[in-house]
Symmetry: C2
Subunit: 205 residues, 2 copies
């Protein structure tokens, strides 16, 4: 693409670094910003700078937090002996929205992905092992994506924790509610039969 202005080109290049944004979409964003007034654009830019400069992470779970401990870790109403291991804060938000979980979280900050140059050392795994080692935790619930990378990470953490006295579980895999059986993939359907739930359990809930 030939741009009529260096400033445009520069801004397009910056926007195109965002995930899933190509140069055409980036140009659309830039043209949109050009139509806004200057205070609006300054506000946008300001939010980005502040985000990076002022954001703090929870010392305990690595969640994003405005102060030292996040809302979840500092709450006495949560069960601190149960830790749900997730990839990033989007997963925390998704699980919190279900209102079905009362434990705390541990945010890895990514998953093991050699293709992207992310190894175990880039992730917050050591602090999880430390917590388990200090006998603070009774159960670790793995809630990572069902991808190759997710499974690798699951396996790595499982190996790291298996020497310690802690229950390790993973969230249930199965047919989503509302999905039709005939369109489910074989692996999911197979797993959902193996890990079937007894009928009484459902009634109790």
């Amino acid at each position: 693409m030939n741009f009529p202005s260096r400033l445009i080109e520069h801004a397009v290049n910056e926007f195109a670094k965002l995930p899933g944004v190509g140069r055409k979409t980036a140009l659309r964003f830039v043209l949109h910003l050009l139509k806004q007034d200057e205070t609006e654009v300054a506000g946008f830019s300001d939010a980005i700078v502040k985000l990076k400069r002022d954001l703090r992470y929870c010392k305990n779970c690595h969640n994003i937090s405005d102060s030292g401990l996040c809302n979840i870790c500092s709450s006495s109403k949560r069960d601190h002996s149960m830790v749900c291991v997730v990839e990033d804060i989007r997963d925390v938000m998704a699980i919190e929205n279900t209102q079905q979980y009362n434990g705390i979280y541990h945010i890895l900050g990514g998953i093991i992905s050699p293709m992207d140059g992310i190894g175990p050392n880039e992730l917050n795994i050591e602090t999880l092992v430390d917590k388990v080692r200090q006998n603070e935790i009774k159960e670790v619930i793995m809630a990572l994506s069902t991808t190759m990378e997710g499974d690798t990470t699951n396996y790595y953490i499982y190996k790291k924790l298996s020497a310690h006295a802690v229950t390790i579980s993973t969230i249930a895999r199965g047919i989503s509610i509302g999905d039709e059986l005939e369109f489910a993939d074989e692996v999911t359907l197979g797993r959902s039969i193996i890990n079937r739930t007894l009928y009484e359990k459902n009634l109790i809930k």
Copy 2:
């Protein structure tokens, strides 16, 4: 969505103002930025501020330009008697990429769209009429989208210019190269038959 931090929420709200970006995508952008280092994020924010603060528009065609006149308007190799009327700079870039047009442009900065509160006065139409009035232009080529809004704008400009001695044309509408006839919509196919091109013309080209 409940965000664990006000800064995140603020940044997500800002990103979600971009066209075609919902709050989930905005959050994805924000988390991506959080993973970058501070200079990278500062560069991003800087590009946006500079874009709005330092960008100039061409005095002649309203194209984006780093100086008073854009590259196209200041070029002596272009035919200044032929003006192609387009919506925004993306269209200029698209037409320039074809390397089939040697005239200059006139950028309206949008199209008439009462639904979005954009009337003729919000667009650069008066300056086009002025140029035509001063007999600077022999042909005006309308190159707007084939939408209701585009057609309205075409008609409005046609009415404004028809009193003056200027040829007004519109870019050809027809079946795209590579498209199959059976999947073309009726209006396009109908127009492509009415505005058929004589065989010799194609041979010459």
